[in-house]
Symmetry: D2
Subunit: 341 residues, 4 copies
């Protein structure tokens, strides 16, 4: 069909890749030029995911074969380091890229190396990359050629707090994010911690105590908004569900919960994917599953106790592939909600 | 069998009641004199719970019929207010009682009425009741005639923090308990929030913002140990599992995580049901499910961030019926681990 | 918008009602004129289902208020007997109706009364009703004014076997359908058998031994296709999932599994929602969840053993609301896959 | 402790191995001499399964080190072929062995090789092995030195049907077993089909069409009881639960369901672990989970339709480690229910 842009997907056989295919198949202005996979090269995507039969029966290209392609936009669902390396040829050809890995999120290559244990593959490109949190960086996204799609946990923590950081009259000291994620966030690779019997009827914390890799991007964006260094405490937990993130965030602030609620309501008025809820109507994962919505509210604060924000997203949609498509919609001037509502 | 004590169970058809029956059936020094139920009176317990066939086929007595009974010990698994009212006749006969409801936990009847919205049924008995957190009140429990079995969430929050409160050289300011519980904690009565389809693949917070009824007993016991008023922030969440509680607790203290770990290790040395773990070996619900164990560790504190305690119990065992049997074992001079290991 | 048809939904607050709203909201040629509910009248649908906020904030009409409405098509998600009674006024006004209850499925009012224990509310309308199994009754559906949307289990059993019944050279004797369904099939009303703790980590059979109400409609349609009475054995089971039906069907036939596969492949060639799979690629519930697809295959037959068909659908989509919309698309001459792919 | 027998466990770090440890730790006449593991040699069992801390902190021996041991009884939880090979040295020393693998179940080495794709490691020992279905082979088990512990699916299919085969006046023709198992039956090794996200909210059939390896042992035992070759159709399915098997079995017989029920009631009168239930009280997995019980009933047969048996067991207990301990109890003259009730 004339007028459609052509897109490519690197690493299409992980959970975010498949979610991206499903979303883009509903997009009226997009056609999929290629899907790639190292492990499943030359098989059909629908052989790997039979649920996609008659939806996307494209043959998966080996990564090196994608270099012959010149689509209008490339999404990468590859792991960090590999992602930037395989995106570089497209970037050099002037093709717009949206990277779902962490590679373009951290502006400082030393910080990247400290947290990711590898030197950054292309530090010189970091400046060009735009942090793709759509509700906050829409103008830059519209002009961007490299989008760093935010981490799933990060989105659920930044969306409720960024409006407070941006409000000059609001102070924020302690920030503790107690986050809970479904298992798809851990990816499709095989590990004992994703074995059904080990996860089902279990619940556990992991990577707590200042060790999870989403911390630097959150602290970077908060510090940028605050105009000074911001430190957070972040504790991820594994829920025995397929999807969804709920973050319970404790903050010390000069604002009441009602005032926080007002600030975010104003900040997100007219936003198609943010739903600010009343405290008596707490967000749940069920309420956002399989959608690009972010639900949030503020409560707490009794007798000087901390204020509590609760925020939910679907980790695979607003926390990954949905937000990636929202970024694409902004970059290409499409209706921002296309294929997402 | 000679030498066995006879026990009665009021409200045997809820989840804690059934768990109690299962545990006591393994106890060599106990025989069950009666099980009662309002809703299922005159049916066999094993008709209501077929899993108990050939294990406990006793006929359920209507509550009023239990008054003719004179067992050595009565457990109540009834809801608050009803529980104290139905236990009173036994208490007056000098029979030892273990109340799994909240009725004897709060020392101040006004506080009870504020949180439970009913006047206390027998405020004069409150002084005699002992708060049955076994590891901390063993001596009083041994002499007690009324045991207030602690709340499930409360146990998971008090066990890691009480040793710190009791340590004179430790200061504790901010206390935030972000707790997660399986659905059996909400009981067996019918409500939309326990409907399978509403809970499965969901995760949500509830009663957050200083409203959950376990708060006053936790603040009471912490204040007693600290010798001054202690305020906590407590946020419960619902996990799509049948059992288990995991509490992630954030504290501000003059201690490092390693020092906290040392303090609790010393406090619980020799305890048969508390397992203090290393931070790299985080407690999980799976690790304590169907047992009377409480697993805990301490971590965090990087660059002045809060210290994080993680604690897990099975809400129906250490959080309810297991601890109730542990209390009975102490009261009657049995081996403390009988029927529990 | 000009050109859109207006539809009404009776009983919009059950699981099939909500699914219908979600599907129709994606339909380019449909606008929702009203949603109704007895229990939640005058509340917004999105107050009952917060996931629908900003998607469908319509106020729910009390059933009696819907009578003032004259939409182009009415869907009923009400329980049997109530459904036909509330649809009758619309039918009399000449409005097309699609009934998701069983009321118009059974042609013989005596059979209806025998299985549903109430006299049929409008036996004279039964002749006009078309059994809305789209792939088999497309021509009649196109001309129909009353559609009896098939039962969820029924669809999963009829779709694989009807092509065999219609093939003159194929004989079929024994038919055993061992079916398994997610819990949403039992509805949203409160019962102990849908309580999370009673269902999670459980699996059970129910209504087995010729007692489930989907039996008469299956035997009716099979007998019609076979031209003689057909009897089936049908055993439903409850899976601890939200959605999906998998039917394992054992048949004795003069055909091999490969021949059965050929027959259904031919029968469903070009069908947009039926995917016939190879036996080594068995259908799963995951493969059809949240879609209108029906996946099936045939295997077995070694050494004269029975042939085995395996068929999966999403009980709320192809087994209910998706098929209802597919029926609407056929009735109104829309693209059959509109809002469904 | 004097009088205790010493036992060894080969392959203690799989799900059946751990279950065995948990059961035996409650056995008053047993002490664990060693636990072994190839992959985790020299680590503590409780490092691999933290839930076992303070319960079994034994160090895991490498398999070759177990040869220096001379316990009274060895259990093997190893995979087939490896199991017989590592048990042989113990058998030669005259030590009693209980093999939870398939190695000693099939009497005919050619049949073994056909289904298991390896030559049998010690065909000469097959004659000495006793098929350890306790309720049916108690006398032989008491004298046995090699026990072939039955397969999990097999137990759930043989227990309801064997009494019918043994009844001279009962005829049985068609036998179809539609079985459903929790994921622990697939073991703890890593495979995509046991990945949480692939299993949760899914349900599927696998190895259907005369291909599952439990078929030959079932047909062998049925043929032996019937005195003539018996063929079965067996379809296993995967339930998204950790534990449990439910088999729905369709049979053609000259008996009514009520007569079948009578026959099994008589056959199992006095059996401590078999509970024959009324058809209106269908067995469920929940009813037998974490126990050594086998629940069953018979129903169906309306208008010449097949009779339906429903049978449930816990795959890790009565279907594996519980039955293994029951076998040990019989072999050593202990109370048959020791550690199992």
């Amino acid at each position: 069909m004339a007028g459609k842009i052509k897109i490519g997907i690197l690493g299409a056989t992980g959970y975010t890749g498949v979610e991206l295919v499903k979303i883009l198949k509903h997009h009226p202005q997009v056609s999929i030029a290629f899907v790639s996979s190292q492990s499943y090269a030359d098989q059909r995507l629908s052989d790997v995911f039979p649920e996609l039969k008659m939806i996307c029966d494209d043959v998966l290209l080996a990564p090196e074969k994608t270099l012959e392609q010149s689509p209008d936009c490339v999404f990468s669902c590859l792991p960090h380091a590999t992602s930037a390396a395989l995106l570089m040829p497209f970037i050099k050809k002037g093709i717009k890229v949206i990277d779902l890995s962490a590679d373009f999120r951290i502006k400082d290559p030393d910080t990247y190396e400290k947290w990711y244990k590898v030197p950054h593959p292309c530090p010189d490109l970091l400046e060009k990359a735009v942090f793709g949190l759509c509700e906050h960086n829409r103008a830059e996204i519209a002009k961007a050629t490299i989008i760093a799609n935010p981490g799933c946990y990060s989105s659920s923590i930044m969306l409720p707090l960024l409006p407070l950081f941006k409000d000059k009259a609001t102070t924020l000291s302690l920030i503790i994010a107690d986050s809970k994620s479904g298992v798809s966030g851990a990816g499709r690779s095989l590990k004992l911690t994703s074995h059904f019997v080990e996860v089902h009827e279990d619940f556990k914390a992991y990577s707590i105590g200042h060790s999870h890799r989403h911390i630097p991007e959150i602290e970077q964006e908060f510090s940028k908004a605050a105009g000074k260094p911001v430190a957070i405490t972040f504790s991820p937990h594994l829920i025995p569900t397929n999807r969804g993130i709920l973050s319970t965030i404790y903050i010390t602030t000069n604002r009441t919960a009602a005032e926080c609620l007002d600030i975010v309501k104003k900040a997100y008025a007219g936003e198609p994917f943010v739903r600010v809820r009343q405290p008596e109507d707490l967000p749940s994962i069920r309420g956002v599953a399989h959608t690009n919505f972010c639900d949030m509210t503020f409560t707490g604060g009794t007798d000087d106790r901390p204020i509590i924000a609760v925020c939910t997203i679907d980790n695979l949609v607003k926390g990954a592939s949905g937000q990636a498509v929202q970024n694409m919609n902004i970059m290409f001037g499409f209706t921002e909600t296309a294929a997402l509502l």
